[in-house]
């Protein structure tokens, strides 16, 4: 158990509303990641963080923003949700480079 909690686990919302997903870790890992998983596309990186207040974009960052004000929390925000952002979102953590990433249980987000 890598001590990762994602919240909420499920969410249904409407187009145009803001949505924030939270990832909380208990083991002080330096690196944190947000991915989305979609049929036919596999796992794609949205944003990641390499320290408090240090973040960078992944391959599908448009429409998403992130924040990391504490080591243990990494927030993913959809400022104005669109139906194309309906997906399963996974948070992952990693202690150091060349070590495996460990994943949370995911958040299933539906945007109607």
């Amino acid at each position: 158990d890598a001590g990762i909690t994602q919240s909420p686990r499920h969410k249904v919302t409407e187009t145009g509303t803001p949505v924030t997903l939270r990832c909380h870790q208990t083991e002080n890992h330096r690196y944190m990641y947000w991915y989305r998983q979609d049929p036919g596309h596999g796992l794609r990186l949205i944003h990641y963080s390499y320290g408090v207040k240090d973040t960078d974009k992944g391959e599908v960052s448009d429409g998403y923003s992130v924040s990391r004000s504490k080591t243990e929390d990494f927030l993913l925000t959809l400022e104005s949700a669109t139906s194309s952002q309906t997906s399963v979102y996974f948070c992952a953590v990693q202690g150091t480079l060349r070590r495996p990433q460990h994943f949370g249980d995911g958040t299933r987000l539906s945007i109607l």
Binding site: Y31, G42, L43, Y48, Y50, D56, L97, R98, P100, G106
Partner: protein
């Protein structure tokens, strides 16, 4: 283009059969990570390979990284229904170590009792 190809895309086997999944790249794999995912759940880390020719086993699952470090295989011996799920490979293609892994699209395994 997909940097990391997994094959086959899906597989249905009878319980007790052996099977092999492949993960192939045109670039050198400096770290290769195998994960298993059950429907509706997160990814569970299985094994990590870093050296050419390296082989690791856990229970009935064996993972190998070829000498050229461009292909990895995952072999399951005497499959069981508990092996069913989606298997994903993730790779670090940076010799110095990358913060970002590249993932394959996954291989869906069904094991019929």
């Amino acid at each position: 283009s997909q940097e990391l190809e997994q094959s086959p895309q899906s597989l249905i086997v009878q319980e007790g059969k052996n099977l092999t999944i492949n993960c192939t790249s045109s670039k050198t794999l400096y770290g290769l990570y195998w994960y298993k995912q059950k429907y509706g759940e997160g990814l569970i880390f299985l094994m990590m390979l870093q050296k050419g020719g390296e082989e690791k086993s856990h229970e009935k699952i064996t993972a190998k990284l070829d000498e050229k470090k461009q292909q990895s295989s995952l072999h399951i011996t005497a499959s069981q229904p508990s092996h069913a799920g989606i298997y994903l490979c993730g790779a670090d293609m940076d010799q110095g170590g990358s913060e970002k892994l590249v993932f394959g699209k996954g291989m869906k395994l069904t094991v019929n009792p």
